[in-house]
């Protein structure tokens, strides 16, 4: 039995256990993918944030009136949960770095060098090496972007959302999203120019 999102939400609002489970299984991979990219590849943190996002969704699902699409409402919660999580983490790191100088740099370099999932079947060492190097460079360039620009770019390029959807998710005007996206594109185009040439 495959229900539409609307029907599923209506049943979840009545605390229907089946609907809640179906909802989790339908959306958890998408939510995890966003959290993973926003956590710059920290799988554990991404799982914790995915869980937190779902809990927020179900705590607030009765407040959802259907004014916007459920899809954007849900992603808005996921993105905001991840942003809050990142903020908490940065605060923690700042406190710890007060008596552990050097740790922050280590953490930052760790963030950049987090391994991405396996890219495919290609076993050519040179391809694998250049692939890993490229992944590192992309991560490094993405981490150099201001947070909003990075999130907007990730939602556009990796999640395939439209500018209008991103605007709804981020709670910003479409013009603002466009401006952030273009700035991010300009920066990445310059930072990764060697990889754009054939």
């Amino acid at each position: 039995m495959s229900l539409s999102d609307g029907e599923l939400v209506a049943r979840a609002q009545r605390e229907d256990q089946w609907a809640i489970e179906e909802f989790v299984s339908r959306y958890q991979q998408k939510a995890y993918a966003i959290a993973y990219q926003m956590c710059s590849g920290d799988s554990e943190e991404a799982q914790d944030l995915t869980q937190e996002a779902f809990l927020r969704v179900f705590r607030n699902i009765k407040k959802f009136r259907g004014d916007s699409s459920f899809y954007t409402w849900f992603y808005r919660i996921v993105v905001n949960t991840c942003l809050d999580g990142r903020r908490r983490r940065r605060r923690r790191e700042r406190i710890f770095s007060l008596w552990k100088p050097g740790q922050r740099e280590e953490e930052e370099s760790k963030e950049v060098s987090q391994e991405q999932p396996d890219m495919g079947e290609d076993n050519n060492p040179m391809t694998v090496l250049s692939g890993k190097q490229l992944t590192r460079e992309i991560q490094k360039a993405l981490m150099s972007l201001p947070e909003r620009q990075r999130v907007i770019f990730q939602l556009k390029v990796f999640q395939g959302m439209s500018i209008r959807e991103i605007a709804q998710v981020m709670g910003s005007a479409e013009g603002t999203v466009k401006s952030h996206l273009f700035r991010a594109t300009h920066f990445l185009r310059t930072a990764l120019k060697e990889w754009a040439v054939p």
């Binding site: 605390e15 256990q17 809640i20 489970e21 989790v24 299984s25 958890q28 991979q29 995890y32 993918a33 993973y36 990219q37 799988s43 554990e44 991404a46 799982q47 914790d48 995915t50 869980q51 779902f54 809990l55 179900f58 705590r59 991405q116 999932p117 890219m119 692939g131 490229l134 992944t135 992309i138 991560q139 556009k156 390029v157 990796f158 999640q159 439209s162 500018i163 996206l181 273009f182 594109t185 990445l188 185009r189 990764l192 990889w195 754009a196 040439v197 054939p198």
Partner: protein, 176 residues
């Protein structure tokens, strides 16, 4: 060759698939005549494609996805007050703490078992009890040694009693 600065925004919108259909014919016409914009468009397409290939969307493995779904359901039940305090305590921990808690439990059980084994067959205790029995024997012996004089005196007394009982002469002297 550089792209036209006036067409930068149009170019980016095209690359992101967001170009207004009304603007497309004019843009395509421009592309036919502008080598710089054509080149930039191709390079930007390539860069975005390379990024997508090298940063694929991660997938939760089925067992982790299942564990995550279970954990969400548990927490929701807990929030609705359908769980007891110990279930809340046990399942309320972050997932990553579960292996640590399991390891701690195994360690406690192992330590308990070893200490119980130690109490059942305490080799040191056994040697102490052996020493005690030996000491007890020595004490008994020393008692006998200490009372040897008394025993000799008692033997003399017994002989004296025999003499008195048999009329003043010890029995062996009668024989003589």
């Amino acid at each position: 060759m550089k792209p036209c600065p006036d067409h930068k925004e149009t170019l980016w919108l095209d690359v992101y698939g967001e170009l207004d259909p009304n603007e497309r014919p004019a843009w395509e016409e421009h592309l036919e005549t502008c080598e710089g914009c054509r080149q930039e468009r191709a390079q930007l397409f390539r860069l975005l494609q390379t990024m997508k290939v090298n940063m694929p969307s991660p997938e939760l493995p089925p067992e982790k996805a299942e564990a995550l779904a279970r954990s969400i359901n548990r927490k929701l039940r807990c929030a609705r007050g359908e769980e007891t305090w110990w279930q809340k305590w046990l399942w309320g921990r972050p997932n990553r703490l579960i292996p640590a808690l399991t390891a701690a439990c195994i360690l406690i059980v192992a330590l308990g078992w070893f200490s119980l084994q130690g109490l059942r067959t305490p080799s040191s205790m056994r040697s102490i009890s052996n020493l005690k029995s030996e000491e007890q024997l020595l004490v008994k012996d020393s008692d006998i040694i200490k009372n040897l004089d008394l025993l000799e005196e008692m033997d003399t007394l017994r002989k004296l009693v025999q003499v008195v009982d048999h009329g003043g002469v010890p029995s062996h002297t009668n024989h003589n």
